[in-house]
Symmetry: C2
Subunit: 157 residues, 2 copies
């Protein structure tokens, strides 16, 4: 299966991602409005994560929009698990993998080119859950993000 394997440089099939989202929303009786579609399309088309204000600027080229409107669209897309928030960048990125993955993926964020690679990592989390269980801690959400140089950037001059 060679679905949109995004990584450094490679373009994402934005249209495919958006129509997948459309089907998913339809199936779950969620409203995939023009604004939500537009925001997701911008994220899917971008090789790197975008901030809410980045998104507002891009949408604004077509239609006047306030940041809060973008934030609302982002909130919806996050809830629908169609996008991820990259906390170390205060930015957002379209979800590369099929939705409904329970395990929070690891994100490899390149400090040079800014791209993000999404690495599913179930085993990784299984190991950790022992430690967490020992502490009696009940996890609700996780943030695992790694900064560094991606292979492409490291090879480059």
């Amino acid at each position: 299966m060679n679905i949109e394997r995004r990584s450094t440089g490679s373009r994402r099939a934005s249209a495919a991602l958006v129509s997948r989202a459309e089907r998913l929303c339809h199936d779950q009786n969620l409203r995939f409005t023009p604004m939500r579609r537009r925001v997701l399309a911008e994220l899917a088309a971008s090789p790197e994560p975008l901030t809410a204000y980045d998104l507002a600027d891009r949408v604004r080229e077509e239609k006047r929009v306030a940041p809060v409107t973008v934030y609302r669209a982002l909130e919806f897309l996050l809830d629908a698990k169609l996008i991820h928030r990259i906390v170390i960048r205060n930015a957002y990125t379209a979800c590369d993998h099929a939705p409904h993955h329970d395990a929070t993926p690891v994100f490899l964020v390149c400090t040079r080119c800014g791209t993000v690679e999404e690495v599913p990592s179930e085993a990784f989390q299984r190991d950790l859950s022992e430690t967490i269980a020992e502490a009696g801690f009940r996890p609700k959400s996780r943030v695992f993000e790694i900064e560094g140089e991606c292979a492409k950037c490291h090879a480059a001059p």
Copy 2:
């Protein structure tokens, strides 16, 4: 007496933490100035992470201070590995363990009481590094944070 509340039971001795920091800075020829000492002391005394503006407010009770001054102290303390940044809270917390730990710890952040437990997790990272190496990615820094309810809060009504 002057043991500060830190609700996971592992209370921190603020004074001990500060004097440890003092020794460490002296050994490394770093300047442990009054402002840096004060900021670290506030963090060490707090059961939960504090934002830069929280810190500014607390320091301000004694002496007028601008946020940027606090940010500079935080930057120094982060570089010296005396504190951690909790990105999912935009806040900072004193480092519980001996300094010089290379492996980034996992932080268990309680959504109810707000406390943070710092869990060193070397094994955890060893597993992950294979995946990362396969991607040709050269990690520089990592963020592993987990939100949930701590044991105390979960037991409480």
